[in-house]
Symmetry: D2
Subunit: 328 residues, 4 copies
C-alpha cells in the first residue's frame, strides 16, 4: 500500500485526491495546506488527517509519495525537501518561474531529476497519447510539422495574471512540453505576442501568442494560444508526417449532431475547461506516477523536462518582447 500526501488543497488537490481513491494499493494519508479551511475541507471529504505545515509531511516517515500542488514559488523547495526525505514526488507545472531556480533544483536533484514527475497532464490525455503512439508506430512516417492549438475559454482574473510569470510560463508551458514530447530538443524559438484584451496588456503580459519552434534535427512546430476562446477550451494537435497526418480534434460532451434550417452536423459546444476536458488525463497521469513508484526508472515527464519547458518559455518571452529569434 502506497501512502500519499497531497500538498495544496485547491482545485488540483481535489482532482488528485479523487484519482487516488479510484486505485487499489494506494491510499490518501495526509493533506497539507496553510489555509486550514482548505486543508480541512479536502481531508474531511476523504476522511484523512491534515496539517498546515509542509514539514509535517516531509517528517512523516509513513508517507511514501507526495503530490505537490502548492503555489509555483514553493515548488523547488517542496520538491527538494520531499526527495531529500526519501519520498517520491509528482509536482504541478511549472517547476519554477525563473530558469535559475529550476536549474538549481535539477542540479541538486542529480539523478533523481528523472524520477520526479511534473504534472504535464496533456501527455496522458487519451486523444493525444493515442495520436502519439500511432505516430510512434509509423502510421504517418516521420513527423515533420506539429501544430498545437491551445486556447482557454476565458482569461483568469488580473490578480492571477500578476503572479503567473506571464502567458509563456503559465499557459504555453503545457504546449512547450508537448512540442518537446513530440519533437525532442529545440534549437530555435520564435515568438510573437499581441493583446485582444487591454486589461492584460496593462499588466505587461500578452493574451494571444504564436510560437514557432525548430528542433535540433530541423522539424518545425507551431503553437497558437489565446487566453479567451468563445467556443470553449480549444485543445487540438495536428501531426503532419511524411506519409500522412494525424489530428486530435476537440472533444464534445456527446456524439449527438443536429441539423436545422441553419446548420448541419452541428455538435454541441466543446468541453469548457481543463478539469472536465482533462479529467481522464489527470487520472491516467496519477496512475502513471503510481506505476513509476512500483516500477522505478525515469518518468514522463520528469523534473528535467519541466526545466527544459521553462527554458523554452523563457526564450519565448525574450523573443516576443525583444522582437528577435532566440537560439538555444
Amino acid at each position: 500500500m502506497i501512502r500519499i500526501a497531497i500538498i495544496g488543497a485547491g482545485r488540483i488537490g481535489h482532482v488528485h485526491a479523487r484519482a487516488v481513491r479510484g486505485r487499489n494499493n494506494v491510499t490518501l494519508a495526509l493533506v497539507c495546506d496553510p489555509f486550514e479551511q482548505n486543508a480541512r475541507a479536502l481531508a474531511e471529504e476523504y476522511d484523512v488527517n491534515y496539517c498546515l505545515d509542509t514539514d509535517e509531511v516531509f517528517d512523516d516517515s509513513t508517507i511514501d509519495a507526495v503530490v505537490i500542488g502548492s503555489p509555483t514559488q514553493f515548488h523547488v523547495d517542496h520538491i527538494l525537501k520531499a526527495v531529500n526525505s526519501g519520498k517520491r514526488v509528482m509536482c504541478e507545472k511549472p517547476i519554477a518561474l525563473d530558469v535559475e531556480s529550476a536549474k538549481r533544483c535539477i542540479n541538486e536533484l542529480g539523478d533523481c531529476a528523472d524520477q520526479v514527475m511534473m504534472g504535464f497532464n496533456r501527455r496522458f490525455a487519451p486523444t493525444f497519447s493515442a495520436l502519439k503512439s500511432r505516430l510512434d508506430d509509423g502510421e504517418i512516417g516521420s513527423l515533420q510539422q506539429l501544430t498545437v492549438i491551445s486556447r482557454d475559454p476565458a482569461a483568469p482574473p488580473a490578480s492571477y495574471i500578476a503572479g503567473s510569470g506571464g502567458i509563456f510560463k503559465d499557459m504555453t508551458i503545457h504546449d512547450f512540453d508537448m512540442v518537446r514530447h513530440f519533437l525532442g530538443d529545440i534549437a530555435e524559438v520564435n515568438a510573437v505576442g499581441t493583446n485582444a484584451s487591454s486589461e492584460i496588456a496593462k499588466q505587461g503580459d500578452f493574451d494571444q501568442v504564436i510560437v514557432t519552434l525548430k528542433s535540433r534535427d530541423g522539424k518545425l512546430a507551431t503553437i497558437i494560444n489565446s487566453r479567451t476562446c468563445a467556443f470553449g477550451y480549444d485543445q487540438r494537435i495536428e501531426a503532419f508526417g511524411a506519409a500522412g497526418m494525424l489530428s486530435a480534434d476537440n472533444l464534445t460532451e456527446t456524439a449527438v449532431r443536429k441539423a436545422t434550417s441553419t446548420q448541419t452536423e452541428a455538435k454541441t459546444a466543446i468541453m469548457d475547461f481543463f478539469l472536465e476536458r482533462y479529467e481522464d488525463a489527470y487520472r491516467i497521469e496519477l496512475e502513471t506516477f503510481l506505476d513509476s513508484i512500483a516500477i522505478g526508472g525515469a518518468v514522463s515527464s520528469s523534473a528535467r523536462d519541466g526545466y527544459e519547458a521553462l527554458v523554452l518559455a523563457d526564450a519565448a518571452t525574450h523573443s516576443a518582447k525583444e522582437h528577435r529569434v532566440v537560439a538555444l
Copy 2:
C-alpha cells in the same frame, strides 16, 4: 450534330436546355409547349424555334432526339409517337400514373423499351454514382442492406398533390428506382404511411412513408420519406455490405464549418431542393443520354426500369392503404 427537341418548357425543360448548351456536337433545335408564353420564353433564351403542338416535333425529320418533360398523363403518348417517328427519347419520371398504361407502353415499345431513357436523375448524382461504383468494385463486399432517406424541404401545393398519383408514384418513385438500381428485382413490398400534415391527409394521400423491400435474392432495403424537412432536401444513401459500409451524405454549399459557444463543426444548411442539389446529376444524365445515342445499346435507366419502378409504387400504395405485405 445531334438535334434535340424539348417537349415541356417548364422548370425541367430549362435544366435540360442548359445542359444541351454545354455540350459539343449537339444543339437545341426546337422547343414545344402548349402554353405559348412558356415555349417562347425558353426558345428565346436559347435562340431557337418553338411550336405549340407536339406533332410538329414528331413530324420534323431533322430532329434526332426528344426530351420529354410534359405532364405525366402525356408521357406514354409522347414516348410512343417519338419512337415511332424514329427519334431517341429521354422522358421524365414517372412513365405513367397507372401500371396498365405503363405496361401497354412497354409492350408497344418492344425491344426499344431498353433504349428509351427515363429521367431518374439520382442514378447520375456524383455522390451516389461514386458510392455505387465503389460498391461494384467490391470495396465493402456484397451488399446486404440499403437505406435510402429522401425528404423534401416543403410539401407541394394541394393542387399538385391532387394530380400527383400519390406520394409513392410522385416522390418515392425515385427511391424505388434507386433500390432496383442497387438490389435488382424486388420480391416483396411493405409500406406504411402517416400524416404530419392534415391538409395532405384531407386529399387521401400520405406525407410520410416508410417502405421496406426485399429483393428476389433476399437483400433488404428501407426507404424513408417525408414531404417536409426543416433542414432542407435530405438525400442520403447508406449501403451496408458484408465487409463495411459506404454512406453518401447530404451536400452543403461550402465546406466552411463554424464553432461558437453553442455549436461545433456546424456546416451551413444543406442544399435546399432538387434543381440545386441535382444540378450535376441532370447534366450528367443528359450527357449519358446523348452518349447512348452515339453508342447505342440499353440505357440506364430505361422505360422498362420506369415501368418496374411504377409497379413498386403501385404495390406500396396497396400495402400502405390496405395494411398488408404485397408480394410481386
Copy 3:
C-alpha cells in the same frame, strides 16, 4: 447502506459488480450462481460471500436489492420471488421468452410492476439520453420519424441462437424498448427478415431484420438490425422532428483522425461490442436503479415496459414469418 445481491455471475454480473463498487452507500453483499466456479470467481474478486441456490438470496433479510442476470427462462420466477421477499429488483432483458409468462409476471406484480427495473441499458447511454432530453426540450419540434440502427459485430454461436427466442426477442428487444421510449405505445408492427448467414437460417431464425412501427398517434419508426457488422457495433439513432434532426453517431475510442493518400478524416473503427460501448450506460443504469430505491416511484424502464417490448418482439416475429402486418 444498501446491500446488493447479484444473481448470475456471468459477464453482466461482473459489469454490475464493478458499477456497485464505484458508488457510496451501497455494497455488494452476496453473489449467487449455480455454477460454483462462476460464483466463487466473482465473489472472490469483490471479497464477498457466494451461494449456489437463489433461495439463499431471497431468504437473506439483510439483502435490500437483487440484480438478476440469470438465464431468461428464470427471470419471471426470480423477479416474483425477490419482490415477494421484499427486495427491490433490477432484471436483465428480456423479461421472458413468451408473452404469456411475462403477462402473468406483470399481473402478479400488480403495482410493483412499475418499480421492478428492466435492464434496457441503452436508455442510459449518454449519447442517446442526451438526444432524448434535447428532443424533450423541443430543440427539433415534435418527433415524426425515428430511425434506430443496431448491428452486432458478430453473430453469437449456434447454441446461443437456439435458446435465444429468436432475433426479435433477443436483439431487437432493445430497439423495441427504445422505440417505445421515444414514441410511446405502438399500434402496428411490420417486420421483414432475411439471412446473410446460412447457419442461422438453418436454425429457423433471421440474422437481418427491418421493422417498421407506427405509434398510436401516427408517428413512424424504423429499426434496422444485423447479427454481423464488419465495422463493429453499429449503434445509431436519428430523430427527425418538425423543426430539425438530432443524430446519435457511433462512438470511437479516440477523436484522432487520419489523412493519407487514400483517406481523409478517417476515425479509428468504432467500439467493438456492448461491454465497451455501453460501459457508461450500465453504470448509469445501476445508479438510476439505486436512486430509485432511495427515491421510490416508477422506474425507467419497468417490468411493464419489459412486457410491452416483448409484445412487440412477438408481433414482429409473427409479422416477419407470416408476411403480414400485425395490429396491436
Copy 4:
C-alpha cells in the same frame, strides 16, 4: 463583346481559355506564345488565331483585355505594355521576382495599379470567399487569429525551383495575399524554414516554412507550408474571432464516407492539385475580371496587392535566412 488575348499558352492559359468560353459577351480572340507548338495547340482547340510575338497582341486594337500567363520575369514588361496600349490586364502571380521591379511597375502604373488584376485565385475559391463574407458579416465577431495551411502534394522539379525565386515568392505568395486579404497591412514578419528534402536544400531553398505575421492593428496570422504532402493538396483556413471560429476544410471529390473494421467516416483522399481544387476559383476569378472591365473601379486583388504580397515574401526570405524578425 469583350475580346480577350491570352499571353502564355501553358497550363494556366488553358484554364483561362476554358473559363472564357463559358461566358456570354466575351470571346477569346488571340493566343500568344513564343513556343509555336504551345500557341498553335491552344489556338486550335478554341479555333482562334495565334502569334509568337507579344507586340502583335499589344498592337492589335481589337483586343480589349489581356490575360498574362508568361514566365514571371516578363510580367512587369507585359503588364506595362498592355496597359499602355489601352488594354485591361489580368496577370498571374507573382508580379515580379524582385521588389524593385515590382515597385517600378506600380509607380509607372500610377492609378492604374488598382485596376490591373493579379491572379490570386484563392480569394475566389468558394469555400474561402464564403468564409470571408461570413466573417465580414460579423458571424464570429472581429478576427483575431488567422491560420493558413497550404501544402502542395509534391515538390516541383529542381529546374523549376531554380527559377522560382524561392518558396516564399513562389508558393507562400498566395498565402501572403490571403493574409493581407483578411488582416490588412502587415507590420512584422517572422519566418522559419527547414528541409525535409535534401534535393531542395542543395539549391539553397526551403521546402517547409512557417511564417508568423502581425498586422498593423495587432492581429496575428500563421502560415504553414510544405512542398510535399502525402494526402494531397492541403488547403485550409481557420479564422478565429472574438465570438467563434470559421474553418474552411479541404475538399474531396465526393461526400461518400466509408466504414470498415479499421476506419470510420473516412472520406476519399482530398483533391490532388490546384487545377482541380481551384477549378471554380479560376473561373470565378476570370468572371470577376470581366465584370471589373464592365463596372470599372479597383479590382481584388490589384497590382498593388501583388506588390505588397511580394514585399512580404521578400521580408520572409530575409527573416528565415537571417534568423531575425523583419519589421515593415
